[in-house]
């Protein structure tokens, strides 16, 4: 049985409300979806919250999945959740608080460690605009093709390619400074 056959069986199980199948989906995608949210928010607590919301939506919406790329479908929900989060005033306030803490920690001069290496990427990612950052993370964590990403974003593939190239080039320059 191929990987896609396995996934198809798991999705059928999910549609039949089998909790074991949902657990399998969580095991398969939690890490990537968490990475996607973490890189977009830069905050563990928010990422926890968004990931929980994503899987709650998955349970709610699995019946509307009509085939095609499951990852594309799942990351479309993840993207919508992120946009909802951006729109929420309360959450925006939390983000501002997080940014404030980060600025304060930068002023106090943190020591270099493995965690700081992770933070370096996070800090540079913040210098990109939200849309570009989201595009880069969608591409990286969803592992979707450019064509699929263009469909999710409802834009021509040429636009997606150009934005992603520009964003990644800038990120690379920022990281190599």
């Amino acid at each position: 049985m191929t990987k896609s056959d396995d996934l198809a069986q798991i999705i059928i199980g999910c549609k039949n409300k089998d909790s074991k199948c949902f657990s399998q989906v969580v095991d398969m995608y939690a890490s990537r979806c968490y990475g996607y949210f973490y890189r977009l928010t830069g905050n563990n607590d928010l990422s926890d919250e968004l990931l929980s919301e994503l899987f709650a939506k998955l349970v709610e919406k699995i019946g509307s999945y009509k085939g095609g790329s499951f990852e594309g479908w799942l990351f479309k929900i993840a993207s919508n959740i992120f946009h909802d989060y951006l729109r929420g005033k309360q959450r925006r306030k939390k983000l501002l608080d997080v940014q404030k803490k980060q600025i304060e920690s930068r002023i106090t001069g943190p020591k270099q460690s493995d965690n700081e290496q992770i933070d370096k990427l996070q800090i540079q990612l913040r210098k990109l605009d939200t849309d570009t950052r989201e595009l880069i993370m969608l591409r990286f964590y969803s592992q979707l093709s450019f064509k699929e990403i263009a469909v999710i974003r409802s834009e021509p593939i040429g636009t997606t390619l150009a934005k992603l190239h520009r964003g990644l080039k800038k990120l690379r320059e920022l990281m190599e400074r």
Partner: protein
């Protein structure tokens, strides 16, 4: 993220750029994505994963109720549609359906006296008269149903009623 899709980036960029530019762009993308691979995001906490799974398990019974409700609504909807269609069908069938066999219809209302009469000649005459009467009434009823009366519906109905009373009062029924 080593399981990246197998797109040929250079080929993809070549659809929009010349070969040299496409190669450079593909290289930019690959190098930047290598940086992302070298800086993995933190993994979700095990406790978080356990909580998510528990929450899913809690949500599922509610999901079943929801599915049950959906099925119940569908069944009620289908039943209503079947009843309406049946009613419409029966109405249409009544109007344009097959006419019942005239002979059998007549036989059911022929007086018992005629059936039991030993006088075949007299019975034949009575039967012929009776049949003509019924046919006349039937034609008048049909004319009424089709609205082919002379515009004075009340008089036609009265005439019909008179004929029925006359038949009822005559000795004809007694054979």
């Amino acid at each position: 993220m080593n399981g990246r899709n197998d797109e040929n980036l250079k080929e993809l960029f070549e659809k929009f750029l010349d070969a040299e530019q496409a190669e450079s762009c593909a290289e930019d993308v690959q190098k930047a994505e290598q940086i992302l691979r070298e800086h993995p995001a933190p993994e979700p906490d095990d406790m978080l994963i356990a909580n998510i799974k528990a929450e899913i398990a809690m949500r599922l019974p509610a999901g079943r109720t929801y599915v049950f409700k959906q099925i119940a609504y569908k069944v009620v909807g289908i039943a209503a549609a079947v009843i309406i269609l049946t009613a419409i069908g029966l109405r249409l069938f009544d109007k344009g359906g097959v006419e019942p066999n005239g002979g059998v219809q007549y036989a059911s209302i022929i007086p018992t006296a005629i059936w039991e009469s030993d006088d075949i000649t007299a019975a034949d005459v009575n039967l012929a008269t009776f049949t003509v009467e019924i046919e006349q009434i039937e034609n008048e009823l049909l004319a009424l149903q089709l609205g082919e009366d002379d515009g004075n519906g009340d008089s036609s109905i009265t005439e019909l009623e008179m004929e029925l009373i006359e038949i009822n009062n005559s000795d004809f029924w007694k054979g």
